[in-house]
């Protein structure tokens, strides 16, 4: 596992605070990205506060991600180490932002 730092909420009424956790290992079709900037969307607040239901905790919000690739899996073809990368709402199981409606 890969050690990571974040700001997270531990419950729907919690404020965001520092949290350490682990990202999964880089699989064959995965990339690892050092995040440089993350935008703050109104839907982050809805999710952190469980205003749409279904929020799981601890939660690390944020789906406007820009960073640089530091590691690529063996089967990765589109990216190489050092490339800039963007990640939005559609990530693995995280489809919360289909409901992302707020400016």
């Amino acid at each position: 596992m890969i050690a990571a730092k974040a700001y997270a909420v531990q419950s729907a009424t919690d404020k965001l605070g520092e949290w350490s956790f682990e990202r999964r290992e880089v699989g064959p079709s995965d990339v690892q990205i050092e995040i440089l900037y993350c935008g703050v969307c109104h839907s982050d607040i809805h999710q952190a506060r469980n205003e749409w239901g279904g929020s799981k905790y601890p939660m690390v919000p944020g789906h406007e991600i820009v960073g640089r690739i530091t590691k690529v899996g063996a089967d990765v073809t589109k990216f190489k180490e050092g490339d800039l990368a963007g990640i939005g709402c559609l990530v693995d199981s995280c489809h919360e932002c289909v409901n992302c409606k707020n400016g």
Binding site: A6, C41, V60, E64, V66, V76, K78, G86, N102, G103
Partner: protein
């Protein structure tokens, strides 16, 4: 994905994900301004493309926040005549700075009257309750009202205000990955980024308070070096 480790989001120093969910980002743009393109950008780009908004179209943007300011930039880049509709008269300068051609204070009945039946499209970014019927009447024949923001409660409107001009009410949610890449490439080519206020990670709780008061032009972006 391993289906075991939950997906945690971007308020973090690093992330691991499948390459198919990752878009390429140009070195040409300011990265802090690129971040909001991944949600606010694609959410407004996608319906404008779907409805082929461009030269000769009159488009109104309802609400000038994170989504609205991107809608203005994209619609201007696509060649439409863009009007910002807002309840706050003091947003006119901001609207014009973003490239909008016209501004209408929607609390001013006289101004509204001038724009009856005027628009081909309205991009509605407002997530508070508002008067849909009033805005439908600003659309011309076959005009299209596109919701990218919605209030939490069921919406109410006069169906006759739609029927009267064969008007269309529709809604749109983000966009797919290929279209997100297309949008990022378009932004790189045309020098389009979001207008942002860069913040330290530790400021995030204050940033939330300010977002709830619409006190940001137009998006907070966290500098992850501060984590």
């Amino acid at each position: 994905m391993d289906k075991v480790t939950p997906t945690y989001g971007g308020y973090s120093n690093r992330i691991v994900t499948t390459e198919s969910f990752v878009c390429k980002v140009s070195e040409k743009l300011s990265l802090e301004g690129v971040a909001p393109l991944l949600c606010a950008g694609i959410t407004t780009y996608s319906p404008l493309r779907k409805w082929k908004v461009g030269k000769g179209h009159k488009l109104a943007v309802l609400g000038l926040g994170g989504l609205g300011h991107m809608a203005v930039k994209f619609a201007v880049a696509f060649g439409a005549e863009v009007t910002v509709l807002s309840t706050s008269a003091n947003k006119e300068d901001d609207a014009r700075k973003l490239g909008a051609h016209n501004f209408v204070n929607t609390k001013d009945a006289e101004q509204l009257k001038k724009y009856a039946g005027y628009f081909d499209f309205i991009i509605d970014t407002v997530s508070a309750e508002h008067d849909y019927t009033m805005y439908f009447r600003l659309l011309g024949i076959n005009g299209v009202h596109i919701c990218v923001g919605l209030p939490p409660t069921p919406i109410q409107f006069s169906g006759f205000a739609l029927m009267g001009g064969n008007r269309v009410l529709t809604a749109s949610s983000i966009g797919g990955l290929p279209e997100t890449q297309e949008m990022l490439d378009f932004c790189a080519e045309h020098g389009i980024v979001s207008d942002v206020e860069v913040i330290d990670m530790a400021y995030i709780n204050d940033a939330y308070d300010r977002i709830l008061k619409s006190d940001v032009k137009y998006r907070f972006v966290i500098d992850m070096a501060t984590l």
